[in-house]
Amino acid sequence: MKDPSIRIRLIGDTDHYESGDTLSGEFFVDIAEPEAIRVVEISVLWFTEGKGEEDLDVHFFERIGNDNGQFVDMRQSQPFATALPASPLSYDGVLVKIHWCVRIRVFLSRGRDFAAEQSFWLGQVPRGQVIEEEEKPQAEVESVANKIQP
């Protein structure tokens, strides 16, 4: 069977949102056997990116189960919506970045799972910049060194 693919679309004129805005969208799963889908999880979450430990928090979560006797055809558009919180705002820094995204995770009855993400921006925090340390002239360095260690 061909691997399923997940399509996500955010509704609106932009992928930039402000705190308190409603994020709404839809998704569908391109799959040959829709009965093979056991559960779909919809999450709206933020996570950090950088060189160190990562942080993550889920703001919105919804589970659509095909395991409770009701069959939902995920090939059809499935809507989702949530009001966005005041923080944390998206940030493209050098040491750390904060990303927001919608993540759809599909669990198949055979134990496999697939996921898709659609990123968006919350707020308008300016991008962080790398600040290059200015190299001091050797004479100045020596002068400072002499003052410290006469």
Partner: protein, 210 residues
């Protein structure tokens, strides 16, 4: 309006904007490149033959945890219950309540294997106690260490400059080449083959070039 976006890879998130960030370089996100010789399947068979006891030995940043993750996934798929322990910061003993943790995830009919990353940090006594408990309970024990720790040898991880180039090429988004091969080679030499440090350095370089 954003377009529909397919998800390119099960393990890699395309949201990340620096390809050398932790989420892109952690075990499981980066493929393990085997040296000539046994590959994943053969290694797992060897581990099985050794009663799920084994050690992966290698220096810092040589891919031990990546290989461990790969074998753990395969063992899990084979029905073995994995209980991972990640030791760091000179952790001299197993975490408090580790045996209870293993017991709590017990399932009838499934084998159990402890996976200890950074095993050599344990004191000799802690290693002896852990091995004795695993032997007594008939639990498997797969560990990573920087040197031989007296468990059946499974694999020795090594890095080389071609591996560094291959991984950097894999990690960079398609069509993007801001990192010159000479820079990768220079950073690789500076960090004496420690790929974890190489990626950390490349994270900074990538930020400067963005």
């Amino acid at each position: 309006m954003p377009e529909y976006l397919p998800y390119p890879d099960h393990h890699r998130s395309f949201v990340a904007s620096n390809p050398f960030s932790t989420r892109c370089t952690r075990p499981g996100a980066v493929p393990f490149h085997f040296a000539p010789g046994p590959k994943e399947k053969q290694l797992f068979e060897r581990l099985w033959d050794m009663g799920l006891w084994g050690q992966i030995v290698g220096s810092h940043g040589s891919g031990k945890s990546t290989l461990l993750y790969l074998l753990a996934e395969r063992a899990s798929a084979a029905g073995i219950r994995m209980v991972p322990f990640d030791l760091h910061d000179q952790q001299r003993t197993m975490p408090r309540g580790w045996q209870r943790q293993v017991w709590e995830s017990f399932e009838v009919g499934r084998g159990t294997m402890l996976v200890v990353d950074g095993y050599e940090q344990l004191t000799a006594f802690a290693q002896w106690r852990l091995k004795r408990t695993c032997r007594h309970r008939q639990w498997g024990l797969l560990v990573t260490a920087h040197r031989d720790v007296g468990l059946p040898h499974l694999y020795r991880t090594l890095t080389h400059i071609d591996l560094a180039h291959a991984l950097v090429t894999f990690m960079l988004p398609e069509g993007e080449t801001p990192i010159r091969p000479e820079l990768v080679a220079e950073i690789f030499r500076r960090h004496e083959g420690n790929l974890r440090n190489v990626f950390s350095d490349l994270y900074d370089q990538y930020e400067k070039l963005r």
